[in-house]
């Protein structure tokens, strides 16, 4: 800091302090003082280790996500699928549809779902006419890492937008956007925990409407992960959609949410559980 700027600060601080103003007025002119009783010196530290590059981070995220997936041999969780209408405007939000499922998965492609609740504000006639929910037998969670797969890297551009130290975790915020100027694919930001190099949160945004004819916009989409034992897994996927025309039973704006709770992993699910339902 130059001496001129240092003096400027001192003058400014003196002027702002009530006492300073009084002292100056009493003596009939400005009074300057320099604090010389405290002295701090911070030694220079030369950092010679190379900073990890974005390319390295992307490769480690890809490997970290794959490692996360491969560590899960079987999985069970409770999934809540919810449609909420009137989320914009003066009316209070109202749950339109809700279904709750217990989902069982086992490598490589076994899937069993048990419906625990099916509720609709407008009940359908047939018992099977509720919300159609199709779960994947895979545990790769493409919803949160779709832009960080090897074959997606050529289609996206990435940049580091922030780093934060949380406990002994270094969390990187990495933004991604399609390379193409005309591709309607989403952009977004992910939070990467560099201890495991897994994505722990994602905020998705769209440069325009993905379906301009029907969708006015997607103001917000968030995908969250949680730690369940040793594994990072989906916690919530939430998206707000505003439509160009009111949709029957949903209005002009609605939230679509999938919530994942009560995980259990690698308990050795019996193959008999999936009898007749395996793919």
């Amino acid at each position: 800091m130059s001496s001129r700027s240092l003096w400027s600060i001192v003058i400014l601080l003196a002027g702002l302090a009530p006492g300073g103003v009084v002292a100056a007025a009493a003596s009939g002119g400005p009074t300057f003082a320099v604090e010389d009783t405290m002295h701090t010196e911070v030694p220079e530290v030369l950092v010679s280790a190379p900073r990890v590059t974005l390319e390295e981070i992307l490769e480690r995220v890809e490997r970290g996500e794959a490692r996360r997936d491969s560590a899960i041999t079987d999985q069970q969780f409770t999934a809540t699928v919810r449609l909420v209408r009137d989320v914009v405007g003066s009316k209070p939000p109202k749950v339109q549809e809700e279904s709750v499922w217990r989902v069982f998965r086992k490598r490589p492609d076994k899937l069993r779902t048990v419906r625990l609740r099916e509720w609709s504000a407008r009940p359908k006639k047939g018992a099977d006419e509720g919300v159609e929910v199709e779960f994947s037998p895979g545990t790769g969670e493409q919803l949160i890492n779709f832009a960080f797969r090897a074959d997606a890297r050529r289609d996206y551009r990435y940049r580091i937008v922030g780093r934060v130290i949380v406990g002994d975790h270094l969390v990187y915020r990495i933004a991604f956007e399609p390379r193409s100027a005309i591709d309607p694919a989403p952009s977004g930001v992910v939070w990467v925990d560099t201890n495991d190099f897994v994505i722990v949160r994602q905020e998705v945004s769209f440069r325009g409407s993905p379906v301009p004819l029907l969708i006015k916009g997607i103001p917000r989409m968030v995908v969250e992960r949680q730690r369940a034992g040793e594994h990072w897994v989906l916690a919530r996927a939430m998206v707000r959609i505003e439509t160009t025309v009111p949709l029957p039973g949903m209005g002009r704006a609605f939230d679509f949410v999938i919530r994942y709770d009560d995980y259990r992993h690698n308990v050795g699910l019996d193959d008999a559980l999936f009898a007749g339902d395996a793919r």
């Binding site: 217990r102 492609d109 890492n145 797969r149 090897a150 050529r154 730690r227």
Partner: protein, 437 residues
């Protein structure tokens, strides 16, 4: 001690995972404020007993074995006239879909239709060192009598049907196919591979219908007759992206041989390449080119055509044909965000474009002209070139990448006609069948 150091010491003092959990929890809290009741935990009352009951009864949540979906089957062109019919699709998750179609073509006064079976196998991605994409495999088998278009490189679209019905601007040429065809397709984000075989009787069709809703005279009053023949053909098509480049390439080969009992013997080869480059994030430059070569005499239904949408747009569709083809095109398409300063409604996500192109067909002329030598490149004056401007609108459905295009195209060069205005629906890259994202 500075405030930053104090905060850092507090953060380090907390258990690591707790600290990260609190950090993520803080972010989740702001999300909760935005989404409100949408993201709250459900009431779990009686879930345990419901789960026990569901596990005890494996069939409780199983969907019906077969779902049935009826639908219309309608078409219109100057050969079929109106085609009225319907379809019924029976599908199961594990066995695929079987679709039956039956319709009556009012022009030739014949019944058409048949059955088609389709099945796709998708597998979850496999985690290895990195993710390894598992391809989708699909099979399709079709049998029956169906209308077809003469140009093997293009398919009839709903927009073409609407144009024919409303204004009579129906330039495609048609034939009828009776028989069986099957295809096996492997597709992932980088490679699309298709093997196909067919055994079909291809029959010429005549113009039967000249009316349209605007009562205009149809722009084409004849239908290029196909050669009546039983065709037994094998085909292979591969589309892939050249590693480390943005270039897509496609190779297609179709072979029919009398040794297999085919009335026609030919080899049809087509190669194409396309690439899209972003220009400062505000526009895309799309470069495409294709070459075609047909070895075989007097086979209009295997010829290459030039003109119209996805070809040279200043030339009326299917104006020229030959046994050799070369076409190169350049399209500049702006990003939708370019219109943001105008504050248009999001629904009106228009884009602007400019384009140029050059192409030629030569060799045997399927329209009966004298033709030109096959083994020499065309004379300079036989190459046709164009330039034009576009207004594009991407509705997002049915194809997320598809645009409705309003193109004004002007021919370049002496003794070429006036400019043309055409409306059509296509992807920005339309000479290569890039796998769906």
């Amino acid at each position: 001690m500075s405030v930053a150091a104090l905060l850092l010491s507090i953060a380090l003092a907390a258990p690591a995972d707790t600290a990260l959990g609190q950090y993520l929890g803080g972010l989740a809290d702001s999300t909760d404020q935005y989404f409100g009741i949408s993201g709250v935990r459900p009431d779990t009352t009686s879930f345990d007993s419901l789960l026990a009951a569901g596990l005890a009864n494996p069939n409780a949540n199983r969907r019906r074995g077969i779902s049935l979906a009826p639908g219309p089957w309608v078409a219109f062109n100057r050969v079929l006239g109106p085609l009225w019919g319907g379809s019924l699709t029976a599908s199961t998750r594990s066995l695929g879909a079987l679709e039956g179609k039956l319709g009556y073509a009012d022009g030739p006064e014949i019944w058409m239709g048949g059955g088609e079976y389709r099945k796709t196998w998708s597998r979850p991605r496999r985690a290895a060192r990195g993710y390894r994409e598992e391809p989708d495999w699909s099979i399709a088998v079709r049998a029956g009598r169906f209308p077809g278009v003469m140009d093997p490189d293009r398919r009839e679209t709903a927009l073409a049907v609407a144009r024919a019905l409303i204004w009579g601007t129906d330039r495609q040429h048609y034939l009828r196919r009776d028989g069986v065809r099957a295809s096996l397709t492997r597709e992932d984000a980088s490679l699309r591979l298709e093997l196909a075989a067919r055994d079909e009787l291809e029959s010429p069709e005549e113009v039967t219908t000249t009316w349209n809703l605007y009562r205009r005279e149809p722009v084409v009053l004849f239908n290029l007759p196909a050669r009546l023949a039983r065709v037994r053909e094998l085909g292979v098509e591969a589309t892939t992206r050249i590693p480390w480049t943005p270039v897509w390439v496609e190779l297609e080969s179709r072979v029919a041989d009398d040794a297999w009992g085919s009335d026609l013997t030919y080899t049809r080869l087509r190669v194409a390449a396309a690439t899209e480059l972003s220009i400062a994030g505000v526009a895309a430059l799309i470069t495409q080119g294709t070459l075609g070569r047909l070895e075989g005499r007097d086979i209009p239904q295997a010829a290459f055509f030039l003109g119209g949408a996805t070809s040279l747009r200043s030339l009326p569709g299917w104006s020229l044909g030959g046994t050799r083809k070369a076409l190169a095109r350049l399209d500049l398409v702006t990003a939708p965000q370019l219109f943001e300063p105008l504050h248009l409604p999001p629904t009106l996500a228009f884009q602007l474009g400019a384009f140029g192109g050059i192409g030629a067909v030569w060799g045997d002329d399927p329209y009966g002209g004298p033709g030109t030598p096959e083994d020499e490149w065309p004379e300079r004056n036989e190459w046709l070139s164009e330039a034009g401007a576009s207004l594009l609108y991407r509705p997002g459905i049915p194809d997320p990448l598809g645009h409705i295009r309003f193109d004004w195209a002007w021919p370049i060069g002496p003794e070429r006609g006036a400019g043309r205005f055409i409306v059509y629906y296509s992807r920005p890259i339309d000479l290569v069948r890039v796998p769906s994202p």
